[in-house]
């Protein structure tokens, strides 16, 4: 396969071609879910979904819609493969990765352009990366995609839902007592409304968000629920929280947790990251 030129005819070989003028619009959002080495990529005409799982209890998904890409061509209804996410991120940052925020690099025209191509099953994922006239070609081996777990989380089973501005939640998460093995989330139509609790070595701590707080954009709680989740599982979600401007927290009748983060990329476009987590154990109401 010719490496040097990317003529239009080459595209006939690829089942998926996605291009971005700024590779950071992909790499930043993938960092928010990069807590494990392997990721399942699933592309449809709607866009790209990347899934990372941990011990069958936690799943993180990043959604990058087709509209985010400068070009997004897919020849099948669904294209799936698995790659090493750490390696992919290293490649996307191969030109060093500028630490300047997006608007500065735009002005200086130092962003890395990406063209991601996939021939199909059995072929590697090919990345063409260009910055300042220098082109790098990376080929990353792909594996058979595993079936992502279906947490069976559907809107009709949601018992409690809140949408918060990320700013206030960021502060709480940065202060969480890490000696606590669990993070307990209480959601209720009455006091304390929305509470995060930890039980650590020195005692317990509670962070309460009232329903009328100006940080609370939406408050729909139908019944009082208290669930505990392993702190080690939820810790990676703080990366997604750091990138986001809003977060929706939902629990269903089984106590499963869904966290959805609204992330704006360098160009102000919206992407989503979501985390699903199983509850740790049954908690008796105190």
């Amino acid at each position: 396969m010719p490496l040097s030129t990317q003529s239009q005819t080459d595209d006939e070989f690829y089942v998926l071609v996605a291009t971005l003028d700024n590779a950071r619009n992909l790499s930043n959002i993938l960092k928010a879910i990069a807590f494990k080495d392997h990721a399942i990529f699933s592309a449809t005409p709607n866009g790209l979904k990347v899934t990372v799982e941990d011990s069958k209890c936690l799943q993180a998904n990043a959604f990058i819609q087709a509209e985010i890409f400068q070009e997004f061509t897919i020849k099948e209804d669904m294209v799936g493969f698995q790659v090493n996410l750490t390696v992919l991120l290293d490649c996307l940052n191969i030109f060093g990765g500028s630490t300047l925020p997006g608007n500065y690099t735009e002005a200086l025209k130092v962003s890395t352009a990406l063209r991601m191509c996939y021939v199909g099953y059995g072929y590697p994922l090919t990345l063409f990366l260009e910055e300042g006239g220098v082109v790098t070609v990376c080929k990353i081996n792909t594996q058979e995609p595993e079936e992502p777990i279906d947490f069976e989380f559907c809107s009709s089973n949601v018992t409690n839902k809140v949408i918060l501005q990320s700013e206030s939640l960021k502060e709480a998460f940065s202060e969480l007592d890490m000696t606590s093995e669990v993070l307990q989330i209480t959601m209720s139509p009455s006091q304390p409304f929305f509470r995060l609790s930890t039980f650590g070595n020195s005692g317990n701590a509670h962070y309460d968000y009232p329903k009328d707080s100006d940080m609370m954009e939406l408050f729909q709680c139908t019944k009082t629920q208290t669930n505990r989740y392993k702190m080690s599982l939820l810790k990676p979600s703080t990366k997604a929280l750091a990138l986001s401007c809003k977060v929706s927290v939902r629990t269903d009748n089984r106590g499963f947790l869904s966290l959805q983060y609204l992330v704006r990329n360098d160009d102000g476009q919206i992407c989503f990251v979501e985390y699903y987590c199983c509850p740790d154990e049954e908690v008796e109401e105190e």
Partner: protein, 365 residues
């Protein structure tokens, strides 16, 4: 105890806790009639610090009348309550502290903006009384300076430096890093800073001498003083007796009592004569400097506590009236004839009585 701190005082309280964490691992809490006392001591009992917040510091301060209560808890847990210092002022509107004796719990409730409520329930243990007895007002040497002066001074010493030597003459103060006796002279780096008396708000010297104490513990106080902008007072008598550093205003009182290296040969004070100021070029010539240190009569400020000093008998014995020492006479380590300079220990009364084993009246602490 049930009290509420509002506004900027929350940050002051947080800074006090962080400052105390530089001394010891445990925070001793004692609500008193005259205010809330927060104390800490290090494991070797050579450093003690206490902050007393008067009831006026709080927007509400109530204690159970007549009931004397004290407890201690891991200081890291309390630091966790006030974790993000930088945003405390912006975000926290008030802090409510409530002691629940039945459940052995101290509850901190921070009311933050946007309606966010942070509640920390910390468990504590009962503790013995922790009081250092000292009388700083009758010290031989008393100084007061703006915190900036001391902060700018200690910045010249590496953070790894354990001990610093402070020497005074009638109109100058020198800070020098303390080098161990057995350190190789050619490998040791000596740093010395001289401050003139007019940089201080108060500079009163009755006895010209040098004391050596732990710099790390001083830095603890500087954290607090710098953020509150309160002037720092330094009180000391002589090597072997503790140095007291304090910050005071109308609603709070902070005291750091640090032990100093004692010199066993130093049984009386140095003569109060005007020392010759060191020649300007003497720092350039390390050899002559070292020779100067070796001589038995050392007029300048560069005195190490370990060098044996011989001098003319001082007729001015009045400076050695038995001021309140931090170690009792029984524990007087100057009895040792030989051996390395011994650090004095801070004496603590372990019961409720304030009777010192000493001749002066105790301070209200």
């Amino acid at each position: 105890m049930d009290c509420v701190v509002t506004g900027g005082n929350v940050k002051v309280l947080a800074k006090a806790v962080h400052s105390l964490s530089r001394i010891g691992d445990e925070l001793y809490v004692e609500p008193q009639e005259d205010g809330l006392a927060l104390r800490s001591v290090n494991s070797s009992r050579s450093a003690y610090a206490c902050f007393l917040f008067s009831p006026l510091f709080f927007s509400r301060y109530t204690t159970t009348n007549g009931h004397c209560f004290r407890c201690k808890m891991a200081i890291k847990s309390v630091q966790a309550v006030f974790r993000s210092l930088a945003t405390l002022e912006k975000n926290v509107e008030k802090c409510h502290m409530k002691l629940d004796e039945q459940k052995s719990r101290l509850t901190f409730t921070l009311h933050c903006k946007h309606g966010l409520l942070k509640t920390h329930n910390l468990s504590f243990q009962d503790s013995e009384s922790l009081q250092a007895v000292f009388d700083k007002d009758n010290s031989a040497n008393i100084f007061r300076a703006q915190p900036r002066l001391l902060v700018d001074t200690v910045v010249h010493f590496p953070s790894s430096l354990e001990e610093v030597t402070l020497s005074v003459s009638d109109d100058r103060m020198w800070f020098k890093n303390h080098v161990e006796e057995d350190a190789e002279p050619s490998k040791a780096m000596l740093t010395e800073l001289c401050l003139s008396s007019d940089e201080f708000d108060q500079f009163s010297v009755q006895t010209q001498n040098s004391i050596t104490f732990c710099l790390k513990e001083l830095r603890g106080l500087l954290i607090f003083a710098e953020s509150t902008g309160l002037p720092i007072s330094i009180h000391f008598d002589e090597p072997g007796s503790p140095v007291v550093l304090s910050v005071t205003d109308s609603i709070l009182d902070g005291n750091f009592v640090l032990a100093t290296l004692s010199d066993e040969n130093k049984l009386h004070t140095r003569p109060c004569t005007q020392p010759q100021p060191p020649p300007d070029d003497f720092n350039d010539d390390m050899d002559s400097y070292l020779i100067a240190m070796d001589t038995s009569i050392v007029p300048g400020p560069s005195v190490t506590a370990s060098a044996p000093l011989t001098r003319a008998e001082s007729s001015d014995q009045s400076a050695v009236n038995h001021r309140t020492q931090l170690h009792s006479e029984d524990e007087d380590e100057t009895d040792h004839a030989h051996g390395p300079p011994i650090r004095s220990f801070v004496h603590f009364s372990l019961d409720q009585s304030f009777l010192p084993l000493l001749k002066c009246q105790p301070s209200p602490w």
